[in-house]
């Protein structure tokens, strides 16, 4: 329990609470970012530099942005954001409890709440790379294939639909260069 752990743990908890409790969806997204930052800090505190920084790079730099983009882009032109029905809380609570039980169980079975006797060795980036390129090369390749497929799909989705004309008039014979 270093002060750093307390700080980052606090950030994670506060951020997560904010993400649940705040009303404005963009505020929720932003407080989720606080959680991400806290997590990254925890990783760094544990000596997992690469993981922590990748967490910031990917989650804060990309995922969070994606999140707020989605929030802005998917709102339709009518009505408020769908209201959370009171009954939904129960299901949510149940799922949360199950996840908590699962996590605790997993942790308990792995560490057994005992302090480690041998000193910890921190894997370096090089170790990570070597592991990825030797032992885990097949999963890495598979992930690559999946991501490529996803990217191609995204590109196809993003292509402008060719149906009729666009909104508004365009000069005759000139497709607007977009």
């Amino acid at each position: 329990m270093t002060p750093w752990f307390l700080l980052f743990g606090g950030l994670v908890v506060v951020g997560a609470l904010g993400a649940m409790a705040l009303r404005n969806p963009v505020h929720c997204g932003l407080s989720l970012v606080v959680t991400f930052v806290g997590l990254a800090g925890t990783y760094l505190d544990l000596g997992a530099d690469f993981l922590g920084l990748a967490q910031i790079l990917v989650y804060v730099g990309a995922v969070a942005i994606l999140l707020v983009f989605v929030m802005l882009l998917t709102r339709t032109g009518r009505g408020e954001s769908p209201e959370v029905r009171p009954g939904g809380w129960w299901w949510g609570g149940l799922v949360a409890a199950l996840v908590a039980v699962g996590l605790v169980g997993a942790l308990a079975s792995v560490s057994g709440w005992k302090p480690r006797s041998e000193p910890m060795t921190f894997p370096t980036v090089r170790d990570l790379g070597v592991a990825l390129m030797t032992d885990f090369v097949l999963p890495l390749q598979l992930v690559g294939v999946v991501l490529t497929a996803a990217m191609i799909g995204a590109a196809i989705l993003a292509l402008p639909e060719r149906r009729g004309g666009r909104v508004g008039r365009t000069p005759k014979g000139e497709e607007p260069e977009q």
């Binding site: 404005n24 802005l72 882009l73 998917t74 709102r75 339709t76 032109g77 009518r78 009505g79 408020e80 666009r166 909104v167 508004g168 008039r169 365009t170 000069p171 005759k172 000139e174 607007p176 260069e177 977009q178």
Partner: protein, 398 residues
């Protein structure tokens, strides 16, 4: 593409809570699940070249509708002129297109001369050509600078343009007494003769000008960013240009060979050899390049005029300053101003002030095609298209 706060009432963007209850006026669905965004560019917007407003409706960043709103600078020019003597309207013409006061003077003087049947002495005709072509130079130089400024070029081309314009304005100052509001031409000639040494000074400015043009072309004409921003943007078709009675470089950029200096041959223009550059695409790049090429032709005219200018009086001795009462009748005088055809239509009822005084402002009429040029383009392009049309709000609103 983007769904935004629909409420335009609060601040610039609208409040949070009342979002999307109803779509207020101006915001509507784009048919793809998103809504359109209406933004008001101007009248306090850095790119509208004065107090001019464009109500732009955007789908994402694409212009769907554009409504030019002008009149913020209306000064009642025509009615003031109808209630003042013929001479008193002359300084007001300076304020129409305040970049080109000398061509405005000329167009008005031409109309009155037609009305009253005045002859212009030889030397005055030469002085008119010289000042008009210098005006064209400085107008086009500034236009190119402003256009680049609209594209975000940090003012460098603009400053180069202004550097050259200063020299021409100095010439105007020593000839007419003012840099912009020249009020130089009179019915039947010009107000004063060129002071000693003026023609030589003008010669020097004309001789040094091509160096600037070359530098300017080095800096911009081949610049990839500039070409990418302007080529294929804001294409004006020949048919639309003619039917909207667009004139000037904007028209010639569509490939229509119409230059009043050739068509009307007013003044003594038929005596000079010069060419009329024409564009083939009618896009912003053509409009820019036509002006650059026109400057080179103007320089050719200036060289010839400065070589051939004769001695003599500069004003028709019959012309009266005070108590000028042309016979009843009407006249339309038009010239090729830097921005297009500038015409003055006058009806005289024999009194000291015109019965009807009407300006045909090239800026206003060229501006009417703005929406057609901008539709389907990016919002950033509306700025460059507006810049390439070359308007001066003093002339649009009058």
């Amino acid at each position: 593409m983007l769904t935004l706060d629909a409420d335009g009432k609060q601040g610039g963007g609208g409040g949070v809570d009342r979002r999307f209850e109803v779509l207020p006026a101006g915001v509507e669905s784009n048919g793809e699940g998103g809504s359109l965004l209406e933004i008001s560019m101007g009248p306090q917007h850095p790119s509208t070249h004065g107090v001019f407003r464009m109500d732009v409706v955007l789908d994402g960043e694409t212009v769907v509708r554009l409504k030019p709103v002008f009149g913020y600078l209306h000064r009642n020019h025509e009615k003031i002129a109808e209630n003042a003597s013929y001479l008193a309207a002359m300084p007001y013409t300076d304020r129409l297109d305040y970049f080109c006061s000398l061509t405005n003077n000329w167009a008005y003087a031409l109309a009155v001369e037609k009305l009253a049947g005045l002859q212009v002495p030889e030397r005055a005709e030469f002085l008119r050509v010289i000042t008009a072509e210098l005006t064209r130079l400085q107008n086009h130089v500034c236009l190119a600078g402003f256009l680049m400024q609209d594209m975000g070029a940090s003012g460098t081309p603009l400053m180069y343009g202004f550097r050259e314009r200063e020299k021409i304005l100095d010439l105007f100052e020593s000839l007419t007494g003012a840099r912009m509001m020249c009020n130089y031409m009179r019915f039947g000639g010009c107000r004063t003769d060129a002071p000693p040494g003026w023609l030589e000074e003008a010669r020097g400015v004309v001789d040094r000008f091509p160096r600037f043009l070359d530098e300017f072309e080095n800096l911009l004409s081949g610049n990839e960013i500039m070409m990418a921003r302007t080529q294929g943007v804001g294409v004006l078709t020949r048919e639309l240009a003619v039917s909207a009675s667009v004139t000037g470089p904007v028209l010639r950029a569509c490939g229509v060979d119409y230059d009043l200096r050739k068509v009307d041959g007013y003044g003594i223009y038929p005596r000079f050899h010069f060419r009329v550059p024409l564009g083939d695409h009618g896009d912003t790049y053509d409009r820019y390049m036509i002006r650059i090429l026109e400057m080179r032709e103007s320089l050719a005219i200036l060289r010839q005029a400065l070589d051939q200018i004769p001695e003599g009086p500069v004003i028709d001795p019959k012309a009266k300053l005070r108590g000028f009462r042309p016979k009843p009748g009407e006249a339309y005088g038009r010239i090729e101003a830097p921005k297009g055809e500038l015409g003055f239509y006058l009806i005289s009822d024999g009194t000291a002030n015109p019965y009807r005084y009407r300006v045909r402002p090239p800026s206003l009429i060229n501006l009417t095609v703005l929406e057609d040029l901008c539709l389907g383009h990016n919002v950033a392009d509306t700025v460059t298209i507006l810049g390439s049309i070359d308007i001066v709000l003093g002339e649009v609103d009058r």
